[in-house]
Every structure is written in C-alpha cells, then in structure tokens.
Symmetry: C2
Subunit: 367 residues, 2 copies
Amino acid sequence: MARSMHVRRPATLASLAAELGVSRTTVSNAYNRPDQLSPELRRRVLETARRLGYPGPDPVARSLRTRKAGAVGLLLTENLSYAFRDPAAIGFLEGLALACEDAGQGLLLVPASPEREDVAAVHRAGVDGFVVYSVPDDDPHLAAVLERPVPTVVCDQPDLDNVDRVGIDDQAAMHAMAQHLISLGHRRIGVVCMRLNRDRNDGFVTPDRQRSAHFHVQRARLAGLAQAFGTVDVEWTDVPVVERFDHTIASGASAAAQLLDRDPQITALVCTSDILALGAMTEAERRGLRVPQDLSITGFDGIREAEQAGLTTVRQPVLEKGRAAGKLLLDSAERSRPRAVTLSTELVAGSTAAAPRGTAEERWFGP
Amino acid sequence: MARSMHVRRPATLASLAAELGVSRTTVSNAYNRPDQLSPELRRRVLETARRLGYPGPDPVARSLRTRKAGAVGLLLTENLSYAFRDPAAIGFLEGLALACEDAGQGLLLVPASPEREDVAAVHRAGVDGFVVYSVPDDDPHLAAVLERPVPTVVCDQPDLDNVDRVGIDDQAAMHAMAQHLISLGHRRIGVVCMRLNRDRNDGFVTPDRQRSAHFHVQRARLAGLAQAFGTVDVEWTDVPVVERFDHTIASGASAAAQLLDRDPQITALVCTSDILALGAMTEAERRGLRVPQDLSITGFDGIREAEQAGLTTVRQPVLEKGRAAGKLLLDSAERSRPRAVTLSTELVAGSTAAAPRGTAEERWFGP
DNA sequence: TTGAAAGCGCTAACAG
DNA sequence: CTGTTAGCGCTTTCAA
C-alpha cells in the first residue's frame, strides 16, 4: 500500500475532461450525479481518473461553488489543554461531535487561545456555522464569529440577544444548592468560583467584580447564592468569594486554603465546579478536617469523578448540551427568530454536605 | 450586541471595491497586507466594509486561491462517543490539538463512523493534511485519505510504507510485560484484547484470526506475548485469547469472566488496554478473587485511572503521540522520504501483578 | 445524455 | 502605493 509523498495536484476535473474528450459537466456528473450518466461512460471516467491520478473534485473549489463547507466550527476560548482535561467540556464535545456525525458534518476546532488575540483563525475557518462554548461576553474571538455571515449558537455563555443559545438556569440551580445548605443550617460559608473575567485574578473578589463579571455563568451562580442567603439575612458582602483563573484541582485546593485561612469558622465551602470542589476536598483532608462533619463542600457539574467522590453537587446534562447545540445549528428549519434551549439540572445530595457542628439542633440534642 | 440571523452574504470584495472606487487588489491588501496601503486608505476601506456589512474575505474563496485550508483533518474510525470516553484517545487529541494550535491551524474532526461507509466525508474535508489515528489497515476511510493529494501521518496503526508514522514499539512493550509476568512465575495466562478486525467477534480468538488481524497494534501486542512465553515453553496455541469489539470497562469484565470460566487455573490476565484491565479487576472482585494474590491482572496505556488503581501496566506517552503527529504533519521541512517517530514506553510495576500462588518458591518455602 | 457558458470570491504577479 | 490581468477548480442552469 505504498504511495508517493507530497503529491503535487496532478490533474483537475478540466484536464480529465480534456483527456477523455468529454465536457467538464460530464466528469462532474460522474462524481456527483451518477444517474445523469451512462454507467459505461461513468466507468470510463472513473478509470481514467485513476490512471491520471485525479483524486476527485477538489473539496475547496466545490465548497466555493456550492457555498457549503460541510463543517461546523467550534470556538472555545480556553487553552485546549484545559478543555481536554475538563470532563464537563469533554462531555460537551462528545455531544456536539455526535450531532455533527449524525448530520455528516465535520467539526472544526478553531485555534483560539485566550492569550493570543489571533482572531484571524476565526476568519480563516471554512465552516457553515459556529458553536461557541462558554466564553466571556467581551471575547474578541466571539466578536469575530458574530461578524461572520453564518448561523451561530452559543452554549452556556454569554447570553446574547438574537443569538441561539443552549444552557441551563445557572442562577436557579445554584439557588437550589444554597437552599439545601441553608436548610442544613449553614450560615457561614465561603465561595470558590472560576474565572470571572479575562484577566487573571487569583484571590478574593470584590462585590464590584462580581457584578461586572464577563463570564455570565459564574455571575449567575454567584447571584443565585447571594439571593438565597439574602433570605436568611446573610449579608452577601460579608461572604468571602475567592476566584481562580485556572480550572484545576490545585486551584480548588489553594482557594479553599485561602478561605479557611481567612475564616476558620466557615462551615461550608461552595464551589462553582466539581473540579474546584475536588480540590477543596484535598485541602480539607490535608488540614485534617473531616467532610462533612467539620466542613461541608459542594460542587457543580456532576462529573463522574464527583459522583465517585460522593460530592454534593448540581448535575447538568453536559452531553445533551453539546448535542442540542449541534442540532440547533444544523436544523435549518425555523431559523427565523432566536431560539433558546434550557436544559434541566438536578441537585445531587451526596455525602459531602451535612449539618454543621454546633447547629441549634446539636446544641439542643448533642452531636 | 444584537445581530440578525442567517444573514445573506451582503457584499463581496469586488462590490466593496466598486463602492470605494478602488481596485480589488487594494481592498484585498487592506485585509492581508496592511503595509501595502496608506493607513488612511485602509481606514476608509475598513470603515466602508463595516458600513456595507462586508464580513471580510471569504475563507473558502481565499483557500481556493491560496491552496491552503489552514486546517488538518483527523480521522479516527471509531464512534466518536468511544473516542471521547477513552482517556488515551483524549490524551492523543489533546496533544494533536496543541500542536495545531501552536501552528495556528484548525483541527477538523472528520465524521467517519465505522458503520456508515461514508467515505464522502473524507472527500469533502477542506484540509491541508490528515492525521489518521489507530485504524485497521483495510479501512475504506483510510484508503480515501491516502488518495487525497495531501500529506498524511498515521498514529499507531496501520504501519504503511511511504507514510509518515508515529507510534511505539508495541511488540517490544508487550514482550517486556510478558517477561515481567514470566519472571514472577506465571505460565498459565489468559489474554483479553481489543477488536482485531472490523467485524464484531466477541469471544475466543483463533490463531488464524490473530495472525490476520487488521488492527496492527493488537496483532503486535499478541505477538510480543507469544514470543516471550514461547521462550519458556508455553505453547501459544494453548493460551486462551478473548476479543472484545467494544472498548469499555464492561467488555473487560465480561471477557475476564469468559476466560476464568474456561480455565479457573489461570494465574494472570493480560489485557491489551487499561480500560479492559479495569474491567477485569471488577470481575475479579465480583468473584471474590484477590488481586494480585489469587489473580494477577495487567493493562496497557498508563491512563490516570489505571495509576489510581495501582495497575501494573505499560505507560505510553499518549499526549506526546498527538503532539508528534501534529508536528510531523505541519513540519513542511524534510518531507522527502517517509519518517517514523517511535516513542518510548515504560513498564509500570503496580500492585496488581505478583507471583502466583503455588509457585516453586512457595512450594519450597511456604506461602 | 451531453456540452457551452458563466461565474463562486478571492489573491498574486506584474506593471505603472 | 494602486490597478490590470489571470486564473484557483469546480458546479450549474440552459440548450442542444
């Protein structure tokens, strides 16, 4: 099964037609419309093509002519290495890839690192539409995508008028988690959240930064917390929130440390992702704090690793998000006005959240 | 940040030039060669473009003209869902994506399910080259790729003359694992391997099927085993080998069950992947067999889950494979003759392989 | 069934 | 610094 390397395009549809003494149309038909051709002629065309080393119609030229690239672009402004290390992102990717595969469409990963402002890659992408996964609303790559005259659907964030979107109700989901903790008796909590803006800010978050966060999802989750705890007279400005730029276990651990250092009285650590929560768990263990007896910890996403760890978390259908995004983009029908798909989430009461020590109940009845 | 949906391409470079009363070259230069233009004129061009809703040069037309798509195609003939569930495949993907990102190239996932013989997707892919990941040598998609006049590099399998390849020495790696088991005293083993051919064959494998396997990597690993055990007079035809089409934990478990049912005297289960080995572990546990006291189990790949389980396995640099494949493809230099990159592997002596009960040593000195 | 004509939208010499 | 001239390789009416 040998073949020569780096073959120079040897023949074109035109040269093949010339060789055969037929028109270009006929050759084109041999490939694209077999029924428009006598089987005998078609056989001759294909055979001559093989002999001349004609590799079939050039896909790019065809795309130019038909105005169809046969591919969907995926924009995720995140170092690819993080994306492929984040189970939630992988689940999304899987769902999207599935939808594309079903439709016979390719999936183009657009190279867009957050550092490099290489918007050119977006312009260069030969695709029939874009899926944008979880980017800040001021992302230049996103802006470039929106300028392209192709349909776009955003997953998770940002939430834009006039752009299709699939996501969940982040605020409600986090509100439910907060209610859970509140009902357990927690009033003194610390929060670990993901990147709120494009700039790196590893540390405590000011209320102002929370409000102005360009990562809409994080903003919504914090808002859900604030709202719920507000109902039990917990002043949100008193609740310490720590942000981490990198989304890793190590980040979760160091963030937890930072919170516990500032206020050892904290009874629960609310994390806006399972990865961060898993990191918080390791920090708790390192400190000899038992979870949930000494400290409750909650996550968000419902990844498999979290389930194995028994994490109390919010499960969201990541694969379905990807599939829905793909379907939405590929469904040419009813592309009249912007559509929104909001998938449902589920509070998973694991074994990492319980009533804090010294609740009223414990004081009355003993631990 | 509103925008209308499904915009019809409103303007072209030509119409923009006409509107401005300049040549097409000038407009083109405004986008591609800012230095060939007075800043003032460029500003005017860009502004008029915005006013007319011209989204910039069409990427497909540009690709046709420049003969560069700015993307590499990835062919993995495997249901995408499996690929995204296999940590080794994800690691490869990450490495490849990294290499592409470094080069500013897109990565196109070509939709090619093993079921559907949709070779058309390969023809439709607008890419400057292909990376083929671990497919059987008789895969029709592979054949279609090789017909395209673009460079190609294969990762793992198959091993083709005249095609760049990156992989490991599978036979040697498995040979080393076999030596390890042999030195521990194992002579009666069972083998669990992955798909050997495109057809589904969940069960025992005949020697003939082993020899004629189209999945080169599996064939090489089995050969490594056969060779090593041959040196200690274990007749390879007596060694039961069970094949599984699906690469899942469940497959590993059922395969292990099948082997142990046939021969309960087996002292070691050699699996050609960690996933399968992890499955075998669950089956051992289900049967109340202690690992490694009652049964040794080995894997292959060195995925994180295996490490956590303390699996005795062969670690291979999956991410590096992806990165190397990308680099090889993107390095235009020295594309004269086929190149081969063979990465090194490492035997990881975990806690799942030990001397079998009733070895000579134990008989002499007691367990 | 087949062919002729007309671009799809753009870039790249080369000349001015 | 700007314009002219030629295509890149293909599909697709419309006629024959």
